[in-house]
């Protein structure tokens, strides 16, 4: 894996997203909805608390992140530019890595923009900087997972819309599974708490960031990226 090539692909994805009005429209919508959940408690209950926003963030990312990732491979297949890309002297792994980092860059920008909400609290009080930092680390890991899931979904589809729906379904499934876990037998609950990345996300929101939480995200992102890579390799034999 050559870093210069990965960087060039990430740079192109970033450019392609940022040079289009759609990229900003989606980001603006995300910020607006995030702001609503952030402000809900602040204004209604007078509580300066990031929890409602961080709790709902997996659901928000399920809706918004696939809009940022759906084009990654699907559009290249449709427009034929994938042939241009794949006939450069680069490997499929470099393509996957570059596209993943490009998408993660875009999602990181979204998250960075939402920092305006917790930081605005400093005007009124002195919020717990540690809680903000750990919450945002968890959020960023979640964004990396969303980028990997979206990239995999995009590699499966030829249409951006189908890639969006698949990406949403993957993330939403994990979220709903975590919500429904309480209704399952205890043995299943334990297994799900261990496997489901959203369960690890919630554990991190409780303020304790364990190595196994981080590993869970890394493992899932790795599996999804490997699946996307296999899909690209397999495409040659289709």
């Amino acid at each position: 894996m050559r870093w210069r090539i990965v960087r060039a692909i990430a740079w192109k994805e970033w450019h392609a997203a940022m040079d289009q009005p759609l990229g900003f429209v989606v980001m603006a919508a995300f910020l607006l909805v995030a702001g609503f959940f952030f402000g809900k408690n602040l204004f209604l209950a007078g509580l300066a608390d990031m929890r409602p926003w961080l709790e709902i963030a997996p659901l928000l990312l399920s809706f918004f992140a696939p809009a940022a990732t759906m084009r990654l491979v699907a559009e290249e297949q449709r427009e034929g530019t994938f042939e241009l890309l794949a006939t450069q002297p680069i490997t499929d792994a470099e393509i996957v890595a570059g596209k993943f980092l490009g998408a993660l860059g875009q999602l990181s920008l979204w998250l960075a923009a939402t920092l305006i909400y917790p930081l605005s609290l400093f005007a009124f009080s002195s919020p717990d900087l540690g809680a903000i930092a750990s919450g945002y680390l968890a959020l960023w890991l979640l964004a990396a997972l969303a980028a990997a899931a979206g990239l995999f979904a995009s590699s499966l589809a030829r249409h951006g819309v189908i890639a969006y729906v698949l990406g949403f379904a993957l993330l939403f499934f994990a979220w709903i599974l975590e919500r429904a876990a309480a209704t399952l037998p205890p043995a299943w609950q334990d297994a799900l708490a261990w496997i489901n990345p959203i369960a690890h996300y919630r554990a991190m929101l409780r303020g304790m960031i364990g190595l196994e939480d981080i590993m869970a995200f890394a493992a899932w992102a790795g599996v999804l990226l490997a699946a996307a890579w296999l899909r690209l390799v397999g495409r040659r034999w289709a």
Binding site: F82, T87, Q88, P89, A238
Partner: protein
């Protein structure tokens, strides 16, 4: 430059290309000709390492497409069918992106970008987005991307399709210009293009190679017989008699005003010479002796079996 041995590709049960063997020498311009669905694009995709062959191999620019496709891709400039480009990037960013994927050092890349922009006439549009450009300009951007790393071999899949006649002339001129220094394999279904730019022609149909050779060789192969038009002013009967005597195997057919059409299974030029020798002594007045050219359209039709209803 290209050495294909038994190159085959199946898609499920459909055989897109079957046992293709041919070679292209350094410095040649070779045209790959065939009706739609003949397997031209699949062949080019295998030669550029985009699709692995189901069977066989090809050595392209010194590397095997099966064993080391990245080395092939590093040495070849490839223009895919329909010239796919990232429409949202400007020309400068697009070229820079391709150059970086090719691992070119930034300094070299800057110099090469200036050179290809000059060669392809892109200087004035470097800051424009691809989606704002006309088809002719896009085609030049596509060619510029192929040329960026200064490859010895260019593989161009239908480089003039979809262009207006002026743009076609421009792109052809550009290809001819390049061909002075490079080896070119281009596919097309436009016959006049092959006649205009190619040294040799390969004709494909149904995934198989039907013929390979120079335009003149293919014409002869397809025609089987050479035709020579002989115009006689005086003494037509004497000329017919002389021809019948000297060229027993030839058939002579009388066309309009004083023109005899002589057909025989030999090279057109040899036939013309034999006719000249036969009529030199005969009491007739020879006005013209013209070897007939079978148009390439006709060759193509015969070799690909179209029109054999």
């Amino acid at each position: 430059m290209i050495e294909a041995r038994g190159l085959s590709r199946r898609f499920g049960s459909r055989e897109a290309v079957v046992g293709l063997s041919f070679s292209v020498r350094r410095g040649e311009i070779v045209g790959l000709l065939g009706p739609n669905g003949a397997g031209k694009t699949t062949t080019m995709r295998m030669l550029t390492g985009f699709l692995p062959p189901s069977d066989g191999d090809a050595i392209v620019a010194g590397a095997s497409v099966v064993e080391d496709p990245l080395a092939v891709q590093a040495r070849v400039g490839y223009l895919p069918e329909n010239n796919p480009l990232y429409r949202e990037l400007c020309v400068r960013d697009h070229l820079r992106f391709i150059g970086r994927l090719r691992g070119m050092p930034e300094g070299t890349l800057r110099d090469r970008m200036r050179e290809v922009a000059e060669a392809c006439g892109l200087r004035e549009v470097m800051g424009r987005r691809i989606e704002e450009l006309s088809k002719g300009y896009r085609q030049r951007v596509g060619l510029a991307c192929c040329l960026l790393h200064d490859p010895d071999l260019l593989i161009l899949d239908e480089p003039t399709t979809g262009l207006d006649p002026n743009q076609v002339m421009e792109v052809r001129a550009l290809i001819k210009d390049l061909a002075a220094r490079k080896t070119v394999l281009l596919s097309t279904h436009i016959l006049s293009e092959v006649e205009a730019v190619c040294d040799r022609v390969m004709i494909m149909e149904g995934g198989r190679l039907r013929a390979i050779g120079t335009v003149a060789e293919l014409v002869q192969m397809a025609a089987g017989k050479a035709l020579v038009r002989v115009k006689i002013a005086e003494g037509k009967e004497a000329a017919r008699a002389a021809l019948a005597e000297a060229l027993a195997e030839a058939t002579v057919e009388e066309k309009e005003d004083g023109v005899l059409l002589v057909a025989a299974e030999m090279e057109p030029e040899a036939l013309a010479r034999a006719i000249w020798r036969a009529l030199r002594e005969a009491p007739c007045e020879l006005v013209a002796l013209v070897p007939e050219q079978t148009p390439l359209e006709e060759v193509f039709r015969r070799l690909t079996g179209e029109g054999q209803a």
